[in-house]
Every structure is written in structure tokens, then in C-alpha cells.
Amino acid sequence: MNDQRKNVVLAKLIEKFGGDVVSTHSDFGDDTALVRRERILEICAFLRDDADCRFDFAMDLTGVDYLGETPRFEVVYHLYSLKNRQRVRIKVRLHEEDPEIDSVVPVWPGINWYEREAYDMYGIIFRNHPNLKRILLYDEFVGHPLRKDYPKTKRQPTLGPQE
């Protein structure tokens, strides 16, 4: 990664979205921005389309459960720019009682399954998602296993063939 480009993206984000960017850091060389969930769709569209950013790849999306903290959940996006060979990480914090966020499928169609996985594992609801169903687990599964309060040893019945 070229050093002079470092933080250009973060600076642009702050300039454009001001108060909606809660904090930024570049620890361990990974540019990271924590943003407010209300404008996530706009921010993602900006990152994809802006001439200096061009983050055309949504490489990864996942949730993290910080049990005991408020807000409890975090959604983490990892983006990659083919043009600038650069990465950025966008994070959004969500409250436990309202773990909802706009889906970014309109921006990157490839993020579809990642959002389903985050829903499956953490119970994060992606608004306006085209097909928000469980993906790795079966539909009858109860709970969201990667939440920290889901016991590791908990068993659920194995289902036979359905009628």
C-alpha cells in the first residue's frame, strides 16, 4: 500500500460526513472508521463511487458481539479498492434492543450472503435485504450461536426429513 494515500479515505469520510463518523484509527496499519448506522447506505455508496475511493470490492462483512458493552453489537465491513490497491474497514455499533441496519446489497450485490450469515450468527437484522434467511444453519434453529451468551455446549434436536 502506498503511504501517501494512507488516511486520505478517512479524511474524505470525515470531511463529507462530519459528525456521522464517530471515530477513526489506523492501528496495525488498517484504516478504520466507526460510523453511525443512519447513513451507512450513503457512506457505502460514497466509498464505492468517489473518484478518490473507488472501493469496488466488498470483501467481508461480519458481526461482533461485545457482550456487556453498550451498544452491544458491531457490524464490520471490509472494503477493497482495485484502483488504489487499498483497504478500509467500516464499523457500525448497534444496540441490543434494536439490532437493525440498512442492507448494503444495493451497493455491492456480493454482500448478500455475508449479511445473511451475520443475521444467522448474531441476529442482526438487515433492513430491505432481498432474502434475509438463515444461511449456514437450518430454519428451525433457535437462537444465534455466535452471540457470546449462547452456550458453546448447547444442543438442539437434529431434524429428520421434512414432510
Binding site: 470490492f57 470483501m59 482495485l82 490497491r85 455491492w108 456480493g110 455466535l146
Partner: protein, 406 residues
């Protein structure tokens, strides 16, 4: 009855003048090569709609990792992509080292490059071999299985003690150094097994009329679609995007080698085959250069916070004994923070997102498996084509259920 008669007269969209047939393919099917499932809506033999289903191999890698120590996660990573397990080991170790700020030794870097490239060749061989079995060309499979077996018998097993469950890397280096004579054996395997096999399969397939008819224009994807779907690796390069992390974000010592990144044009099954064949030749170039440049010196870093002290010292000095005890009982101590570390695995970008809050083990590990977006793109690749083309395409994108389901 009235409906059917009506359809016959007016001529519906469907050839067969009937409702589409729903066909279930998998989860246990010889052509899926893993526990995957497709629900295919067929009009005659044309795929109208394809719904991929998976999760049959989900074994909670991420949940298990949250309850393991940093070192205990390494064997779990073998089970992600079981066709090239060494690459997963390398990717994980690099992610943890990034978090710890460790710079591993030169020799260790070269060893990691070597095992990664050997794994890449094996992975591509398995992919092309099984893909050709699905298309009825069994000979290629045997031509590729023999060198793969040689590599396992002569290189990977002496190195790790196991074939598939390698668990070779450690935070700060590797389990142990290369065994004696390994470098020469590696030269021999590359020269006498890999190269002839690639030559043979190339002669059998590349200009083969049946193969070309069967794969050209099958499972096509455009450049922009491949990017939008998040494709990486050979499938993206076959579509014409020269993204290869070994060139674009050189990690380890990849910037010291002279190699090319093959790129296709059409993004079809034939191009994916061509890209993989050329990548194997380029990997051989990298292996040969790495063997020539192979430096001496220790394989592990000199830091007892991460690496076990020498056994003779453990038995003779109290300091080493205490360090050994602490490392065994408490494990590697990793500072709090979060990193995303990506490597170019055989199928594309293998990313590890790791969150640490200090302490014994990872707070959160997310693997970005290269297969995940590829499998998501299957409907895009296959809809509108023939059912038999689904089998050809599925083999060429190389879905590994172990890393898909985690």
C-alpha cells in the same frame, strides 16, 4: 387440463409446454464433490433458476476458536480448505503476527512461500482433475493425482508428520525446520512430477476439440459482474481482472520473485482452466527461485513470549524452564486490537479478521473464505444454460465445503 391445452395452443415460454421441473442436486452427489446442494428449476434441460444451499459441513469453527487459545486455533484452520491446508495455516499465523507486531525470520518466510506454492499447485491439480472427471475425462485425474500423491508423500508428510491435518505454522515461525534433504527432494518433485504432469494434461486437454466445445462459453461472467459479486482468485482473473495479492500487496517475500499473473478474457470455464494451468507453471517458477535463494538461520524468532525455548536449555536452566512452563500453561499473549490480514490462497483472497482483547485466546475470528462469494455467484454463472453445464462450471470454480461452511 384446460390450462395445459391452453398453453399448447398459445405457446408458452417453456419448450416442453409444462410446469418447470424442480430437481434436487445434492447434498450427497458425485458431481458436487462436497456436501453442497442445488435446487434447480428446469425447463427441459435448461436451468431457469438455481438456488444454492449449503451449511451441511458447518461445525462452528468461529465459536470453537473463541473458546480456544491462540495456538489451539491452528489445527482448526487445517480443516477450512482441506485441499490446501498449509495455506490456511500460513494465513492464520500471519494474521496473529500482524496483531503482535512480529517480524518472522527470513528462512521462515521462504518456507511459508514454498509450502504455499506447493499447496497452490496441489489445489489446482485437484480442481482441474476432478473437473475433468465430471466431464468424463478420467485420465487427466490420474495424471494429476500421481504428482499430488508424490508431493504429499515426499514433501508434506516429512515436513508436518501428517498429510492433510498439517498444523505446521506457529505464531513466530513454524513447528520445526525443514527436514534434512527436503530442498533437494522438493527440486526433484517439481522437476520429475509436477512439470511432466502439467505437460501431459496440457497435451491432452488444451487443444482438445471435445474439451473446448464443452467448456468454452460455459459458465461465463463479465468483469464488472465478477467484481460486484466479490470474486477473487483464478475465477476473477479468468474474467480479466489482474488482482493477485502476491503482486498487489506483496506479503512474505513475494516481491523478490519474478513471476507473472495470468489473466483470461471471457471468464468462462475454459479460461478458468487456462488460468489455473498457467498459475501452476508460475508457482513452479516461484518455487525454483525460492529454493535457490533459501537462506539459512533459525526458523523461529528469538522471543520466548511466543516460541518455546530450546529443549536442552529447558532441562539445564531455570529461566528456560519457567518460560516453557508459562508458554504451555498460559499460551501466547496477544495484545488487544483488531486486524484483517489477507493472503492469496489457491481459490482467492483468504482473509482473517481477528479481534483480541488481550488474554488467552481470540475474542473473535472471522474467516473470509474465497469460496463463499464464488458459490454465491453460481446462479449468475449457470442460469440460462444447460444442466450439464452446471456440473462443468461447479468443478471449475472449485468449491471447498470445508471453508464455505466453516
Amino acid at each position: 387440463m384446460a390450462d395445459i391445452v391452453n398453453k399448447n395452443i398459445t405457446g408458452g415460454k417453456l419448450d416442453m409446454q409444462a410446469e418447470p421441473v424442480i430437481l434436487n442436486i445434492g447434498p450427497s452427489h458425485p458431481a458436487t464433490h462436497a456436501t453442497l446442494r442445488f435446487v434447480a428449476e428446469l425447463d427441459g434441460e435448461t436451468l431457469l433458476k438455481l438456488t444454492p444451499e449449503f451449511g451441511y459441513l458447518h461445525r462452528g469453527f468461529e465459536k470453537e476458536s473463541e473458546n480456544a487459545t491462540w495456538t489451539q486455533v491452528i489445527p482448526y484452520t487445517d480443516r477450512l480448505n482441506y485441499v490446501s491446508p498449509l495455506m490456511n495455516n500460513v494465513g492464520y499465523a500471519m494474521a496473529v503476527e500482524k496483531l503482535c507486531g512480529i517480524e518472522i525470520t527470513e528462512r521462515s518466510k521462504y518456507i511459508r512461500v514454498l509450502i504455499s506454492e506447493i499447496s497452490r499447485i496441489i489445489d489446482h491439480m485437484v480442481c482441474i482433475g476432478t473437473n475433468m472427471v465430471d466431464l468424463g475425462a478420467l485420465t487427466n485425474f490420474w495424471y494429476f493425482w500421481k504428482p499430488r500423491e508424490e508431493a504429499y508423500m515426499q514433501l508434506i508428510e516429512p515436513l508436518c508428520g501428517q498429510r492433510l491435518t498439517t498444523a505446521y505454522t506457529r505464531v513466530g515461525g513454524a513447528m520445526w525446520d525443514l527436514p534434512e534433504g527436503w530442498v533437494e527432494t522438493c527440486r526433484g518433485v517439481v522437476k520429475n512430477s509436477f512439470l511432466p504432469a502439467i505437460k501431459d494434461v496440457n497435451a491432452l486437454l488444451t487443444k482438445n476439440r471435445i474439451f473446448i466445445d464443452r467448456t468454452m462459453g460455459v459458465g461465463k461472467i463479465s468483469k464488472s459482474d465478477a467484481i460486484a459479486m466479490g470474486f477473487t482468485g483464478p475465477c476473477l482473473r479468468a474474467a480479466g481482472v489482474p488482482l493477485d495479492l502476491r503482486k498487489d500487496e506483496p506479503y512474505l517475500v513475494y516481491d523478490r520473485f519474478d513471476f507473472d499473473v495470468p489473466v483470461g478474457e471471457q471468464g468462462d470455464t475454459c479460461d478458468r482452466y487456462m488460468v489455473r494451468m498457467e498459475e501452476m507453471r508460475q508457482s513452479i517458477r516461484i518455487i525454483e527461485q525460492a529454493l535457490d535463494q533459501m537462506p539459512g538461520g533459525p526458523v523461529n524468532i528469538d522471543d520466548t513470549r511466543y516460541v518455546l525455548p530450546d529443549k536442552t536449555l529447558v532441562y539445564t536452566t531455570i529461566e528456560a524452564l519457567m518460560q516453557h512452563f508459562k508458554l504451555i500453561m498460559e499460551g501466547v499473549q496477544v495484545p488487544a486490537g483488531e486486524v484483517y490480514s489477507a493472503t492469496e490462497a489457491a481459490n482467492g483472497e483468504l482473509g482473517y479478521y481477528i479481534v483480541s482483547r488481550g488474554g488467552k485466546g481470540p475474542y473473535k475470528i472471522k474467516v473470509r473464505p474465497p469460496c463463499f462469494p464464488l458459490f454465491q455467484g453460481m446462479p449468475l454463472l449457470c442460469e440460462g444454460q444447460m444442466l450439464a453445464d452446471l456440473i462443468a462450471t461447479l468443478g471449475s470454480v472449485n468449491i471447498i465445503a470445508g471453508e464455505l461452511d466453516r
